[in-house]
Symmetry: C2
Subunit: 220 residues, 2 copies
């Protein structure tokens, strides 16, 4: 599925890197652990990192009702969400042509606060599963007080675009003859060996979904 | 050095995680490859990922004069910059207490376009060196046309705060007796083996600063 760009989501700088393909947009949203939410607060732009989770065509956010970001979402004002995965450093012969390989999504819209209990439960499960797939069923379930004390907001994924750069450096023709190394340094977000809580009282084996933790899209 | 918080930079949610220590703020800015810049464009918030570089108390950005973000910086309007390093997943016994370990900086201010040639050269060198330390001296130098075709903006690092979470899960007292594994999955941005440009014509050894690439603060 692919939607036409709007004036805000149209990739104008280096348009060959732009895409409006929904599968690509979803894959980037799902792989990225966090997003950056931009909103306007008292006439100033504010950018806050937060965890997101996607269910179908909706992006969910959660947090304390005291959070400035979520209070802003209550207003129905527009927000902008950006998700960026840095995949590598592009080391060109010319300083001017250095670049990065990346996959990025930008998303505009007006969020709504989720009041429906079933939708809110599904969103909170999705947020847990977004970060550590397999964890929701294995956790001490959310208590009623915790559920009521958490605010959930929803943003339709309708006005969105992706921007992607892959591959090696693009130098000026004459520069390929220079004795300068050029190439790419791939970067990956690597999980290290899990560290058990020093305050643990019960001896429990590390669950497989923790021991073999990988981001979706980066599985071996 | 530490500056008093302003109403915008004061960490209100979980204030024990907040810091106004300039050395900490600088270390986070220097380690992070990219930042997210928020600005207001035609009444809408917009968030764009970009490369930054710090020289002393100034953060620099660069790009094409056609970039919407840099054109916005020309206006002198306020922007917000957020830099976030995700250090680990905090897997708590209760779904409600799942968290992340992170180091984040938020920065507000009005950028200016850098017209002074010496300052602009220094900023462009800093941007290259921010991404791949050691590369500037080893690159084909920037041509006059490239220099003139690049816009550089500067933001004073004056209104800034850091927010940091470290350590293990913080569960409710009763939950420590549950037979549920809890702990932290550390995450690191790992450089893989450099991949030489397939279009290389000259046989050049991989430079040490590429072969042993590490982010500042993560050196072995």
């Amino acid at each position: 599925m692919s939607a036409a760009p709007t004036p805000r989501t149209e990739v104008r700088r280096l348009p060959e890197r732009g895409s409006y393909d929904r599968d690509l947009i979803n894959a980037i949203l799902d792989e990225a652990l966090i997003c950056h939410v931009g909103f306007v607060h008292e006439d100033s732009p504010v950018v806050i990192p937060t965890i997101h989770a996607r269910i179908g065509d909706t992006l969910y956010f959660h947090g304390s009702p005291a959070s400035r970001m979520l209070r802003g979402m209550r207003s129905g004002d527009e927000i902008c969400v950006n998700v960026t995965l840095v995949d590598g450093l592009v080391v060109a012969r010319a300083a001017f042509h250095n670049s990065m390989n990346y996959r990025s999504v930008v998303l505009f819209g007006s969020p709504r606060i989720v009041d429906d209990a079933a939708e809110k439960w599904a969103a909170l499960e999705a947020v847990t599963e977004h970060v550590v797939p397999g964890r929701w069923a294995d956790s001490r379930p959310m208590a009623d007080k915790e559920f009521k004390g958490t605010l959930v907001a929803a943003l339709p994924i309708s006005e969105a675009s992706a921007k992607v750069r892959t591959g090696g450096p693009k130098d000026d023709e004459a520069d390929y003859d220079l004795p300068i190394w050029a190439g790419v340094v791939p970067l990956t977000m690597t999980p290290e060996a899990p560290v058990e809580d020093v305050d643990s009282r019960v001896d429990v084996a590390v669950p497989g979904y923790v021991a073999e933790y990988r981001r979706p899209g980066t599985e071996a």
